[in-house]
């Protein structure tokens, strides 16, 4: 097995008295990934194709190096994902030799489930949450890695690194196991499972800095480009096949990018000139709005993300 050797100039970095924050975050994430793989019978990694997933995937490569990633990746495909996401998913996972499982709630999709028909809450419930719970059960997975971060949303701030889910996959914020030091409790009864969040302590800025310093590939939609879009209800919706135009809407070319990747109809783009990682980071530190602002799912009602998490959403 060929092992990489350290270039000499890296030595001073290694001998630093204290790790910088990205190194400290990386070390913690590797520890969590290894702990879960050692203790759970059948883990799986939720792969959303977004930037956080890209970081988590690189961390998994690092944690088990020079071995392969010892668990499959699971993508919950709602059928409303951007085509760029699907092609990135297929190319990149193949390139790094990861096992990929794609799961869709075919019954709901055949039934015509859509945010227009069901509302975003119910649509997410059927195509994401239900589909996820079914996939976990079918695969017999007792642990699922997720890329959620505590800085994303208020109810996530109280999430554990090991998030306990009952037999129905649900989360009870009042009945979580205390988590001390880095001693994680992996004990489960039949049917119960744990969501493991190796990126718990990362912020959005940390993710971008790491993507940059590690040169990790991400979906091109994150980079600004002239794209066909319409302004709808205060947010910018990209026009792809399958997005219906409302009466009076006329698509035009705008220089936009996605800050967070979700489903086509429910994730808005932002106007931006940031077409490189440095420009994105620069934009991020001058741009004072939260990344999930353009995700309809979080804003249906106060405490909306908390409700979804209780039902089994990540």
């Amino acid at each position: 097995m060929p092992i990489k050797t350290a270039p000499e100039e890296n030595v001073s970095e290694v001998l630093r008295e204290r790790l910088n924050h990205l190194q400290a975050l990386e070390a913690e994430s590797l520890y969590i990934l290894r702990e879960a793989v050692a203790e759970f019978a059948k883990p799986v990694m939720l792969y959303s194709i977004g930037k956080d997933s890209s970081v988590m995937l690189r961390l998994a490569q690092k944690a088990f190096y020079p071995g392969k990633i010892p668990f499959p990746l699971l993508h919950i495909d709602t059928s409303y994902k951007f085509p760029e996401m699907i092609s990135f998913r297929d190319t990149y996972t193949k390139e790094i030799g990861a096992d990929l499982i794609v799961h869709r709630n075919e019954a709901a999709i055949a039934d015509g489930a859509s945010p227009w028909k069901l509302g975003t809450q119910n649509c997410c419930g059927a195509l994401k949450t239900r589909s996820l719970l079914d996939a976990l059960e079918e695969g017999g997975f007792d642990a699922a890695f997720g890329g959620a971060r505590r800085d994303e949303e208020k109810s996530r701030a109280k999430e554990r690194v090991y998030s306990f889910r009952d037999g129905a996959g649900q989360w009870d914020p009042k009945n979580q196991r205390p988590e001390l030091w880095s001693l994680y409790n992996s004990r489960l009864r039949k049917g119960e499972s744990i969501r493991v969040f190796p990126l718990s302590n990362w912020t959005e800025l940390d993710i971008w800095l790491y993507l940059y310093s590690e040169q990790i590939p991400i979906v091109p939609l994150y980079f600004a480009e002239e794209r066909l879009a319409v302004v709808r209800g205060g947010s910018i919706t990209l026009i792809h096949d399958g997005v219906r135009l409302l009466p009076g809407e006329k698509p035009e070319l705008m220089k936009v990018r996605m800050r967070s990747l979700g489903c086509l109809p429910c994730t808005g783009a932002i106007r931006s000139d940031a077409d490189t990682l440095p420009k994105i980071i620069e934009e991020l530190i001058t741009f004072r709005r939260s990344e999930r602002e353009n995700r309809a799912i979080d804003h249906d009602e106060e405490g909306s993300m908390e409700l979804k998490k209780r039902e089994g959403y990540f």
Binding site: L15, N20, L30, A38, S155, A157, P178, T203, L209, I281
Partner: protein, 547 residues
């Protein structure tokens, strides 16, 4: 963190960004926890830190302005809403669980464990404190004036910070606006708090007068308290020296997390350096096998390293093939060995719904090793308001006590005072699987005399559990310790390592398993130097020879 505007050309911008990135990569990470009671204004203080360091997004601020709940009064933004996350607590107006917050300044990245200080929630405070570098203890100046002294909760919070050995404690004396920014009152608080921290032996203490509501001395220096010349709370957090935790200079502790074996040519041991430093060429000893070898290389995805220390996660390749698996430990051959024992005493923070009772057996997770631990006695319970010791027959949730444990298998540990990582464990209820306690090891309960005399042995009473139990009792009467190793936690493949570990702790292994494979028997015979003893008669002969 401001950078150049969008009008600059790319090369200038690239240079500016590089400078920003270099500076940012150099940032250290500081974890702190906040302890305060419901009315101390803790959520407001954190909201103020986030708000004044520009860590709050505009849409989040707009959303709290529009919130139906506002406890700050008309016309004032209720900054506590920034951190009160869950629906239940927004309705009750109290924080019910540990929440984590993040912000950074040009100097450091901060992780806040925001822990509720309500009477019932000692366990949450201990949770937040377990990973913190700094504890902020909130003291309500107005409440101090009314009670003419520190409230019990301030004593409790400070005691827990000392118990969990948070390296630095800073007292934020809040609500100075309500006491007319009185210097005289602040001095009285400083004096009384100083007495407490001296009594608890805290190594690093600072005290700062603040008003979270008005913003005095949180981020911006106060104009209302010209008599105070020390740092603001943020300045303190940005500059408090993060010494290298003793971790790096102590003896090596490398608990193995898992074995990485991608193909026949590579076998590595993945884990985190819990204490000390490891380098290629270092002579290491595996516990419990006692086998020694050298570190061949420190393998990472980014290339081999010349050295690794806490908290780096690495993979070690060794020069010789030795038996080593999860739950076992590598230490340096020439450095102080960890304590090896099945008996220890530890400070316990009880978190279970059901009480801790003497005689009950729990699962204990220590580093990467999970064993069974039986409560032998409760030495004393600590009154957290006065730190006095009391007798106790059992422990209720949020009680703190010194407890003696005996484990089914030896642990390799340091005291918590020497190493947070190698001296801490969690207790798990074996039936409900709930995490019910946190324990910090004070000392091994010494068995050294019998350990020196002890010869390794494995007593096998095939399928005869009654004989195994009665022989164990016989040994106990003679002052010899023995355990039965027939436990779902111990697969047959682990028997050799377990027997060896027990021997190091001065304990004989006994089994009444239905069968052992011939490979296992051969391995046990070889590792016990032919003290593999089968059957009651042979065991009696073995015992006679010992005496």
């Amino acid at each position: 963190m401001s950078t150049q505007g969008l009008g600059l050309n790319d090369s200038v911008r690239e240079t500016a960004f590089r400078a920003f990135l270099d500076a940012h990569l150099d940032q250290e990470m500081l974890r702190f926890t906040t302890a305060g009671s419901v009315d101390d204004g803790k959520s407001t203080l954190i909201g103020r830190l986030l708000h004044d360091t520009k860590s709050v997004y505009e849409d989040q601020l707009a959303s709290i302005r529009a919130s139906r709940v506002n406890r700050a009064g008309a016309g004032v933004v209720d900054l506590s809403l920034l951190t009160d996350g869950l629906k239940a607590e927004r309705e009750q107006g109290i924080t019910i669980d540990v929440a984590y917050r993040y912000f950074s300044t040009s100097k450091r990245k901060f992780i806040i464990a925001d822990t509720p200080g309500h009477e019932q929630y000692t366990r949450n405070m201990a949770t937040g404190a377990s990973t913190a570098d700094v504890a902020i203890v909130l003291i309500d100046a107005n409440a101090f004036a009314k009670a003419d002294g520190l409230l019990p909760q301030s004593r409790r919070h400070t005691y827990i910070a000392s118990l969990l050995r948070i390296p630095h404690v800073v007292a934020a004396v809040n609500k100075m606006d309500l006491v007319g920014y009185s210097e005289e009152l602040f001095q009285r608080i400083r004096e009384e708090y100083g007495k407490l921290t001296t009594q608890l032996g805290l190594p690093s203490v600072e005290i700062i007068p603040v008003s979270a509501l008005a913003g005095d001395n949180v981020v911006e220096p106060s104009t209302a308290m010209p008599w105070y010349t020390g740092p603001t709370l943020l300045e303190y957090l940005e500059t408090v020296p993060l010494e290298l935790v003793e971790a790096k200079h102590g003896p090596l502790r490398f608990p193995v997390q898992l074995v990485v074996r991608p193909d026949a040519t590579f076998r590595g041991f993945a884990g985190r350096v819990e204490r000390g430093e490891v380098k290629p060429g270092l002579r290491v000893k595996a516990l419990p096998s006692g086998r020694t070898t050298r570190v061949k290389s420190i393998v990472t995805y980014d290339g081999e390293l010349k050295s690794a220390s806490f908290p780096q996660s690495v993979t070690l390749e060794l020069e010789d093939e030795i038996d080593l698996s999860r739950g076992e430990m590598l230490v340096a051959e020439d450095q102080a060995s960890p304590l090896i024992s099945t008996q220890f005493r530890a400070m316990v923070v009880w978190m279970g719904e059901d009480p801790l009772v003497v005689g009950k057996t729990y699962l204990a997770k220590h580093t990467t090793r999970t064993v069974r631990a039986t409560v032998r006695t409760i030495r004393y319970r600590v009154d957290v308001n006065t730190t006095e010791h009391r007798d106790a027959a059992k422990l209720a949730m949020n009680d703190i006590a010194e407890v003696e444990f005996e484990t089914s298998l030896p642990l390799f540990f340091d005291t918590y005072a020497e190493s947070r990582g190698a001296g801490s464990l969690i207790l798990i209820d074996a039936v409900t699987n709930a995490t019910v306690g946190a324990a910090m090891i004070n000392a091994s309960i010494d068995d050294s005399e019998s350990a020196i005399e002890h010869k390794p042995a494995f007593l096998f009473f095939q399928g005869d559990e009654a004989a195994a139990i009665s022989f164990r009792e016989e040994l106990h009467h003679l002052g010899q310790r023995a355990v039965i190793v027939d436990d779902s936690l111990i697969p047959e493949s682990a028997l050799v390592a377990v027997t060896r570990a027990l021997q190091l702790a001065g304990v004989t292994a006994i089994s009444a398993r239905a069968a052992l494979s011939s490979e296992t028997v051969a391995a046990l015979q070889s590792s016990t130097e032919d003290h593999f003893v089968q059957g009651l008669e042979a065991a009696r002969t073995w015992l006679e020879a010992k005496r």
